[in-house]
Amino acid sequence: MRNKILSISVFLFFSIVFVIFFKGLKETNIYTPDLDIKKEIPFFHAKDFYTGKKLNTSDIFKLNQTYLLNIWSSWCLPCRKEHPLLLSLNENKKINIIGMNYKDNKINAEKFLKELGNPYKRVFEDLEGTIAIEWGAYGVPETFLIYNNKIIRKYIGPLNLNIIEEIKLLIK
């Protein structure tokens, strides 16, 4: 009798192991940057684009405020394309647009803003692209909608009219 119970439980145990391995096969084990929505924004240090002053997360992002963090670069063509949309969104006073200048040359970047206009309330530098990694960004352009120090939405690639409408709806 004891032997029977033992054998049945061993069989059951291995069956469970089988099921778990089987399910494990279906799951991917390639780790991608987390797309977790409503994640806390990462803590980082950066340099202000204009003044060169050292900044950290709390200098830029305040609680109970809505921000749009836009990762851009003067060499990035889609950034040029999405720029007018950012400018138009800047007319909305409920949102603060922050720029992260990604792996860029300062002179070119300044020229870019002079030529196309500056939608950003504040711009900081990410010369080595390390801050972008901390944010879990894939590349440029990429945009994060932030409220209360939490990432609400993440847009990979250039913004378009639909996204702008969605952002407007969200910040109402």
Partner: protein, 626 residues
């Protein structure tokens, strides 16, 4: 092209022979005498077909026949011939073909060498082995055919991953496979012996040779892998608790335990359940290793191209084998309870049993550390990674009683023993404790657990050394292996405690200096080879004693495929290794330099060789007695 064709069809023929063997063995199971001679020739035929197929694959690699997909994916015309050949098993398809080769080879040798056992037992072993072989044939032909045809024929291949272009790694898979697959014979044999109720002293004597053989190969295979990781990967260590390393360690632990159990079984006819379970465990753990590595369920250096279909196949196959063996174990095996109560607390068998439990504990630590992340991911979608601290913390403390038991155990007699004339045991223990204390004190290391660990390892060390003189040739093999093990633990401990490391960024002509060492970056050379270009950085290293060494680590840029690797330069001596590796810092003139002094590295390799040498002696002695 002709090679692929021949190779493929001989695989199919091999499968057909396997099925025929399987069918006839069943049909004529009770009419064994007629079958006996035919079995051997059929198994040889199967082995022969696999050899042909394997040779075809080797030839395809040698002549760079890129109409073969496996060759295209893993070879290149500019590769040296040696690596063209070793590239045959440096990929998923080829390595599975090697599995199959070893499987058929072992069953052939097994039938050839096993003369005194009943025919029924031989046939049943063959049947179980054919189950495994047929499974692998189908797996190979269906999901990972090494002879897939490519059209149009590419002009050039993609090349072999440069980190696999290393002599140690070229022979590591075949040796390791001899160990892994050797355990398949133990598995089939134990199943058939259980089913026929012939687990006995004579069976134990017969199977012990096979256990020893695969144990020796497994030990050496792991050693080669470790040597490769140390010299080629350039991470400055020999064991990283990477899932793949663990997967080879688990069958080793099971097999080592089995080796001790079979000795008890051979002498006392007890521990038969242990023997059966361990034999099953060893092979299923080897298979489980194949599953974990090849299915891509784990992330590791050894993962070849992932294919979910393969994973599902091996998983189902693995569990068929597990359930089959469980069924046989529970259905046929009745433990002889009369014998199992005869344990006296102070005897050789008790000490072996205790250490078996320790081994099982180590095995479960490694198993849980490797598999638990998968379970957690499936059950709660949490991702964790288990690293060295987990293993160190759980294994280290338990090594202490384990080592002590290893020292005292062989001193005890079978059945019943006492402590007469055992004064020297206590003396040596005291000496070891003092010595360990003074060594650590002189190096300003005051951690209690290290002192205890080192003293227990030293204890085993002294006792085995004493035995070399006192016992001369009696039990020589056991003594050598245990001596090797104490040496291994001592080397690992000292290596861990006294390694030092410098990490710095240097420009050409600059010098790094601290109290112990002075590193001068002298010059840079560049060199062109057949399949890579390299930058060689020359360093002059002076230590506090004024000794000077020239070390020249390399950065290699392989052309096919284009991969940059950094080759460490290692100066090996009996006392310590000096290890230096450089990496380029992005877009700057600086080199990132990592310099390590690792004491007693050489002794880690030597001691593992000693351990397996002990096994070899035992094997030779066994053959000699007959």
């Amino acid at each position: 092209m002709i090679y692929s064709l021949v190779g493929y069809y001989s695989l199919v023929l091999g499968l057909i022979v396997g099925l025929t063997l399987f069918y006839f063995s069943f049909k004529n199971f009770n009419n064994a005498t007629i079958l006996n001679s035919k079995i051997l020739s059929f198994t040889f035929l199967q082995f022969f077909f696999v050899v042909i197929s394997f040779l075809c694959l080797i030839f395809s690699f040698v002549v760079s026949d890129f109409s073969n997909e496996t060759v295209f994916n893993n070879s290149h015309t500019t590769k040296p011939l040696f690596y063209k050949i070793s590239g045959t098993w440096g990929n998923h398809e080829g390595s599975l073909l090697l599995w199959l080769l070893v499987l058929t080879f072992f069953i052939f040798i097994f039938l050839l060498k096993t003369k005194n056992q009943p025919t029924k037992y031989k046939i049943l072993t063959l049947v179980f082995q054919q189950v495994i072989i047929i499974g692998f044939f189908i797996f190979l032909i269906k999901t990972s055919n090494p002879f897939n045809y490519l059209f149009p024929i590419p002009v050039e291949g993609l090349g072999l991953n440069p980190i696999l272009q290393d002599p140690a790694l070229a022979i590591h898979p075949p040796i390791l496979y001899l160990g892994y697959v050797g355990s398949s014979i133990i598995f089939s044999s134990v199943l058939s012996a259980t089913a026929l109720k012939m687990i006995s002293i004579s069976w134990a004597t017969h199977i012990k040779k096979w256990i020893l053989t695969s144990w020796i190969f497994l030990t050496l295979g792991i050693l080669l892998g470790s040597i490769w990781a140390y010299y080629e990967l350039g991470w400055g260590g020999f064991w990283f608790w990477d899932p793949v390393e663990n997967v080879s360690l688990m069958p080793w632990l099971a097999l080592t335990t089995l080796l001790h159990c079979i000795m008890v079984l051979e002498k006392k006819n007890i521990l038969s359940s242990w023997t059966i379970i361990l034999s099953i465990a060893t092979f299923t753990l080897s298979m489980c290793g194949t599953f974990l590595v090849r299915s891509g369920i784990l992330n590791s250096v050894h993962t070849f191209a992932n294919d979910p279909e393969r994973g599902v196949f091996i998983l189902i196959f693995l569990f068929i084998l597990i359930f089959l063996s469980l069924f046989i174990f529970f259905f046929f095996h009745k433990d002889n309870e009369k014998n199992s109560n005869q344990f006296f607390w102070l005897s050789k068998e008790t000490s072996i049993l205790i250490n078996n439990w320790f081994m099982m504990y180590f095995l479960s630590v490694v198993l849980i550390g490797t598999v638990y992340p998968i379970f957690l991911d499936v059950i709660s979608s949490e991702k964790i990674s288990v690293g060295p601290p987990f293993y160190h913390k759980l294994i280290m403390p338990f090594l202490i009683p384990f080592l002590l038991m290893m020292a005292i155990g062989p001193k005890l007699k079978w059945i019943k023993s006492d402590f007469e004339n055992k004064f020297y045991l206590i003396c040596l223990l005291l000496i070891s404790i003092f010595l360990a204390y003074f060594i650590l004190k002189s190096f300003n290391q005051k951690i209690l657990i290290n002192t205890i660990l080192i003293s227990s390892a030293l204890y085993l060390f002294f006792i085995t050394i004493r035995d070399f003189f006192v016992k001369k040739y009696k039990n020589l093999s056991q003594n050598i292996s245990h001596f090797g093990f104490s040496l291994l633990i001592l080397s690992i401990l000292f290596n861990n405690l006294f390694s030092s490391e410098v990490i710095t960024n240097l420009k050409l002509g600059e010098t790094f200096e601290n109290s112990k060492v002075n590193i001068y970056f002298e010059s840079i050379d560049s060199k062109k080879s057949k399949n890579y270009d390299s930058i060689i950085a020359n360093f002059i290293i002076r230590n506090s004693n004024g000794e000077e060494d020239k070390l020249s680590p390399e950065l290699r840029i392989y052309n096919q495929p284009v991969i940059a690797t950094s080759e460490a330069d290692i100066k090996t001596s009996l006392i310590s290794d000096k290890f230096i590796v450089v990496n380029l810092v992005q877009n700057q003139d600086y080199f990132n330099v990592r310099y390590q002094v690792k004491p007693l590295m050489m002794w880690i390799w030597i001691s593992v060789i000693l351990i397996s040498f002990g096994g070899l002696i035992s094997l030779i002695k066994k053959n000699h007695e007959k």
